[in-house]
Symmetry: C2
Subunit: 354 residues, 2 copies
């Protein structure tokens, strides 16, 4: 039975990317060795990391003065690396969800944190807006898509300070005006690669401004200086990321990905809005294109478990909602085909008619 992968992350990769990864595990770039056992300093792998970086620059139209890093650890590691490197005295954070909240907790270890807006009191069902950013902060930190709660910013704010953004779950789903950010980071296990690598897009002249001593591996400058090769990087996840980036370029880049993503999201949100049984959990204007959260209406609440079982029996995987929200979450990352969304919508109809 064909499986439809709606997991929130690690999550679906394109079959082409998986097949090319398997080919490289059998024989990497004609070396006769597996990409799992090749030196990261071999010319074949240094070419991989260089091409991945160039494709980031090309696909996201990253301006001069920025570098792209591929680092081990997850976005959770970035929660402390960002303030370690960039927080001189005070930073502004928007509390838009669980991950934003975790980033705030780490920043407080390094300086003053001004939480300029929060939707926590409403269990994060909307994305904070119309807030004022003090001009005396070192940066404004945003989580542009809230994987757990299904809300998304989906634009680049105009604020009087530099921005830092966690784009773990919406990178490559729209064009981004990188020039407004000092740093953009994310775990790769949603729209890019298997788990085990972070991407970091960093404005080089934003570094070196703090006085504290930074451990070598936590210092972005280390990795800028060494082209992400100060130590052994996570080779296989980076290789798979390259295959995804090549595929994105073939598809037509982020503008095309945005169209495809919006078409998929519209298909599912329309089904939810026209359903007598299902209902969305977030404010309509803040709906995430990547993570669609919905529940059963109160009168059908006791059927939620049944629907998960009904869907699972048809090969629909990973739609159980996060425990903070309940109900269902369907993650519609770039590699998920529209066909899978239609298949889920059909399952929703069939369940309603049962």
């Amino acid at each position: 039975m064909k499986k439809h992968n709606f997991y929130a992350g690690p999550s679906i990769l394109s079959q082409q990317v998986i097949n090319n990864t398997i080919d490289a595990i059998r024989d990497f770039a004609g070396t006769g060795l597996s990409v799992l056992e090749i030196s990261h300093r071999s010319k074949e792998f240094t070419a991989v990391i260089e091409e991945a970086k160039q494709l980031f620059i090309e696909l996201l139209d990253i301006p001069e003065g920025y570098d792209v890093l591929f680092l081990g650890g997850g976005a959770s590691t970035q929660f402390c690396m960002v303030p370690y490197n960039l927080l001189k005295t005070k930073a502004a954070y928007v509390d838009s969800g669980t991950w934003a909240n975790k980033a705030i907790k780490e920043a407080k270890l390094f300086g003053e944190v001004d939480v300029v807006a929060s939707s926590k009191a409403d269990n994060y069902v909307w994305y904070p807006k119309d807030f004022t950013v003090p001009t005396d902060v070192d940066y404004l930190h945003l989580t542009t898509n809230n994987t757990i709660f299904g809300t998304e910013l989906r634009r680049d704010l105009d604020v009087p300070v530099r921005m830092v953004a966690d784009m773990s779950s919406d990178i490559f789903s729209r064009p981004v005006d990188v020039s407004k950010y000092d740093l953009i980071y994310g775990g790769a296990q949603k729209n890019l690669a298997p788990a085990g690598v972070n991407f970091v897009i960093v404005k080089k002249d934003a570094l070196g401004k703090v006085d504290r001593a930074i451990p070598t591996m936590l210092n972005y400058q280390t990795h800028v200086d060494k082209g992400s090769m100060f130590n052994t990087p996570p080779v296989l996840p980076i290789y798979t990321a390259l295959e995804t980036l090549r595929w994105y370029k073939e598809l037509g880049g982020v503008k095309r990905l945005k169209e495809l993503d919006e078409e998929k999201a519209a298909c599912l949100y329309d089904a939810i809005d026209n359903s007598r049984m299902f209902v969305g959990t977030t404010h309509v204007e803040d709906r995430s294109i990547m993570n669609v959260c919905f529940v059963m209406k109160p009168e059908y609440k006791e059927l939620e478990k049944d629907f998960v079982e009904f869907a699972t029996a048809r090969g629909i995987m990973g739609i159980k909602g996060h425990r903070s929200v309940g109900g269902f979450r369907a993650s519609l990352y770039n590699a998920l085909p529209l066909e899978s969304v239609k298949f889920l919508v059909q399952a929703m109809h069939d369940f309603e008619n049962k």
Copy 2:
């Protein structure tokens, strides 16, 4: 042409391990999904991480009171995590090579560091011994095998303080008396897995003794409390590590691996010692079983480049020595068959006779 993989790391994995990894990338544990795109919270993957932990405990005879963690980042990240978590006021470090030196540099950010012994003045050609460890230090840090210089401790010291050891490149090459250590760590990309995961064996009651605030991801307690699943772990590298651990158990465990490793090392060191052209670079009593460093004798020095080319043409990969030593380095990790060592020895004979 068959390739013989002598890379220092990332390095050779057994073909069985590679094949099983490919199978899991095609269809992981009968889920119909790839291990590259499965949720780390799925029951199938939580079973992987649990089995890997249990095999660590079984193979290394790890006593009660310890935990085994699988963390992102490399051993270089551990260089700062160790003092962040364990250095209260002063720690003793043995400076046995490049990586030991890097660990010392990070520890100095957190407290006083007493370098109790160093072979740096002799370019690390011997392993420091007969040193005195002060009793007032929080721990003694050792790098048990020096990947770059080809020296190895190969035993568990009797010292009056708790030990911490970087065993990146000799883990699973001999039985270890874990009870003498507060913490043993390493990058997995030598004797365990592809790059992208660290193993950490930690005595749980050694934690929580420092006063400083530790960022969440750098706090071992976080990962002990969450079973290495506080955030998304590097799924594929952990899966491949499990396959290696299963293979080690099939082979007969670390006692058997030790015999096999010593047989391989003896084969190559004998060839070096009986050669008129090649000579080892380290003191004989400190020779590493894992990384064999050798050069051409002074009168043949100009032939070193030729030998690398000669060997490469026969499919012998990765024997160029590190720039700190020059000449050649053959890494004989667990997955390298004796046949490959014999093949290298034959190439050395053939080159000498040419």
